[in-house]
């Protein structure tokens, strides 16, 4: 689980001004807010890639802030992150990309690594892609590899920065179904930043709204939508309250399903 307390961060001007956030174990929390409200910065601070000027970040009870690199590296082994611009290592193949964190963290004996890689690829609907080069993949495929890489070491905490940005509606639905599937399968805690509010709210347990560098409210969707704070109401004005959650379970084979006539694969 993730606990963020009174985190301040500025790059010349203040970006985060006292953020409090709590993500319970095994929950999927969506982090939303207007552009440039500091969502990515917050995610990076939780991942230990940035140091806040003040505040504390605890992952699974262990403090993240103020560590030296060795301790931080150990803690980062518990965290998986999928980046907004995907950040796959382009000099490695898909399989090597996935194997890389396993090897670095010595999480598995060498013999088992390939098995885990194949299993993880299959779970995101990219079975058989181990030898493919990163350059040739489509945007959606790259994102799925990124998500597979984040999850491959079975980290208890997963951070996703705009996992569905720039994807078409079909891929977006599948992406969110994949997130739910991961939550169930890996029993991880997920913190997801997304601008696709409608889809996001269908899968989240809780929502946190970040505005102007502070989390204005956090809670189940219903209570957030009922918030009286003007910025929150403004931001969520156009959100349709989703019907009873009707997200179908994620089917990896659906990625290879025959396309309806007239459709094309991205």
């Amino acid at each position: 689980m993730i606990e963020v307390e009174r985190v301040y961060k500025s790059f010349g001007e203040p970006v985060l001004r006292g953020v409090n956030l709590r993500v319970g174990r095994g929950r999927l929390v969506g982090l939303v807010g207007p552009p440039a409200s500091g969502k990515s910065v917050l995610l990076r601070i939780i991942a230990g890639l940035l140091e806040p000027e003040a505040g504390s970040v605890r992952v699974d009870g262990e403090e993240m802030v103020g560590l030296n690199y060795q301790q931080r590296g150990r803690l980062q082994g518990r965290i998986g992150m999928a980046f907004q611009n995907i950040a796959l290592f382009d000099h490695l193949s898909v399989g090597e990309n996935l194997a890389f964190p396993l090897r670095r963290q010595k999480a598995l004996p060498e013999a088992e690594i390939n098995g885990r890689v194949s299993a993880e690829l299959a779970a995101v609907g990219l079975a058989g892609f181990e030898e493919r080069a990163v350059q040739g993949l489509s945007g959606g495929q790259k994102r799925r590899v990124g998500i597979a890489r984040a999850a491959i070491t079975r980290p208890p905490v997963l951070l996703y920065d705009e996992p569905a940005a720039g994807l078409d509606p079909v891929s977006t639905s599948r992406m969110f179904a994949l997130l739910v599937d991961q939550k169930k399968r890996l029993k991880s805690t997920l913190l997801v930043v997304s601008s696709d509010l409608d889809r996001l709210f269908e899968v989240t347990d809780e929502v946190a709204v970040l505005h102007n560098g502070r989390v204005l409210c956090q809670g189940p969707l219903g209570s957030v939508l009922a918030s009286q704070l003007p910025p929150v109401r403004e931001f969520l004005a156009d959100v349709r309250v989703p019907a009873v959650s009707s997200v179908p379970p994620y089917d990896p084979d659906s990625e290879r399903a025959p396309l309806p006539p007239g459709a094309f694969l991205l």
Partner: protein
């Protein structure tokens, strides 16, 4: 989108001063003097949204102590190239096997042709120009060779090789590391428990330090050959007369070697530094490459000047 932040490579094993162990290492510190914007703090206190859950409460903030060690993992303490150098040196023991050899091949072997080409040309040009001018003063060609050899050993081979490496190797390192930075691959490395300094910077540093003197020697030999050939074809100087190393003394040799090693340090450090602190997309990568080439070249020139001046005062002192 949050602003781009200059990253820093993770440091090597630093000594912890005052931080104990692992968890719960921050001590809440009551601060009267805040590290950032006082105005923002007070704005926060007064500008509360009524009813906001989890509103920030009182004055006590837990301030993280600055992480000891050379380079923080991300943006703090934007260091100069010196910091990058130290971090890379400390990272050396943890380099993966084979990484150095790989870099030596990429940086050294692949630059061989380029260096030989340039040094070959310069050798010929230099002998030609110097010869023409010298003949106006002293119509004696016997000292052209030895003087040329002295200049070559003392300075020219090392400096010119290094300048060429600065453009080829320096730009390459900055471009690679820089584009990895702007596509977040460096962060992805950190999260996979791979320190970019260990994985990317240190192997290149060691490889460059080893390769630069070697390339200098090879390039010097090529320049020597073309110089001798030019002497022969243009001025009819007997190669035996030309290839006379009598002006070269220990200080000259020492200066040349020290220079090439120093340049071998300077180029990858300046270039990796430029790459690590890239920001701003593809334009940023281009800027990083420029900074690498210019920074490396300037470092080479300044270091060359300093070492040369030192050598000169030494030899003057030794009564040469």
């Amino acid at each position: 989108m949050a602003s781009d932040d200059p990253p820093g490579p993770q440091s090597a094993a630093p000594k912890q001063k005052g931080l104990k162990g692992t968890a719960q290492s921050t001590k809440p510190v009551r601060v009267s003097e805040k590290p950032t914007r006082k105005s923002d703090r007070s704005a926060l206190m007064t500008n509360e949204f009524a009813g906001a859950s989890l509103s920030p409460s009182a004055e006590t903030l837990s301030i993280s102590q600055p992480v000891p060690g050379f380079v923080l993992p991300a943006d703090e303490a934007r260091g100069g190239p010196l910091k990058t150098l130290l971090a890379a040196v400390y990272a050396i023991p943890r380099i993966e096997p084979g990484a150095i050899a790989e870099q030596m091949h990429l940086l050294g072997f692949r630059s061989l042709g380029f260096v030989c080409l340039v040094l070959g040309f310069v050798g010929g040009i230099l002998v030609y120009q110097a010869g023409i001018q010298a003949l106006r003063i002293v119509p004696d060609t016997s000292t052209i060779g030895p003087a040329y050899i002295e200049i070559l050993v003392r300075d020219l081979a090392a400096s010119l090789t290094a300048l060429m490496l600065a453009t080829r190797v320096g730009a390459g390192i900055a471009a690679e590391i820089g584009s990895m930075k702007v596509t977040d691959q460096l962060d992805a490395l950190r999260l996979s428990n791979a320190d970019p300094v260990v994985y990317l910077v240190a192997p290149r540093l060691v490889a460059c330090v080893l390769v630069t003197p070697l390339l200098t020697i090879v390039g010097g030999a090529v320049a020597l050959t073309t110089g001798a050939l030019t002497g022969l074809w243009v001025f009819d100087i007997n190669p035996v007369t030309f290839l006379d190393g009598r002006f070269v003394d220990g200080i000259d040799l020492g200066a040349g070697l020290v220079k090439s090693v120093a340049f071998g340090f300077a180029i990858p450090v300046m270039s990796a530094h430029a790459g690590l602190y890239t920001s701003g997309g593809s334009q940023g990568v281009g800027n990083a490459t420029t900074r690498a080439v210019v920074g490396s070249s300037l470092a080479v020139i300044v270091l060359g000047f300093l070492i040369g001046a030192l050598a000169e005062t030494l030899s003057a002192g030794a009564g040469q």
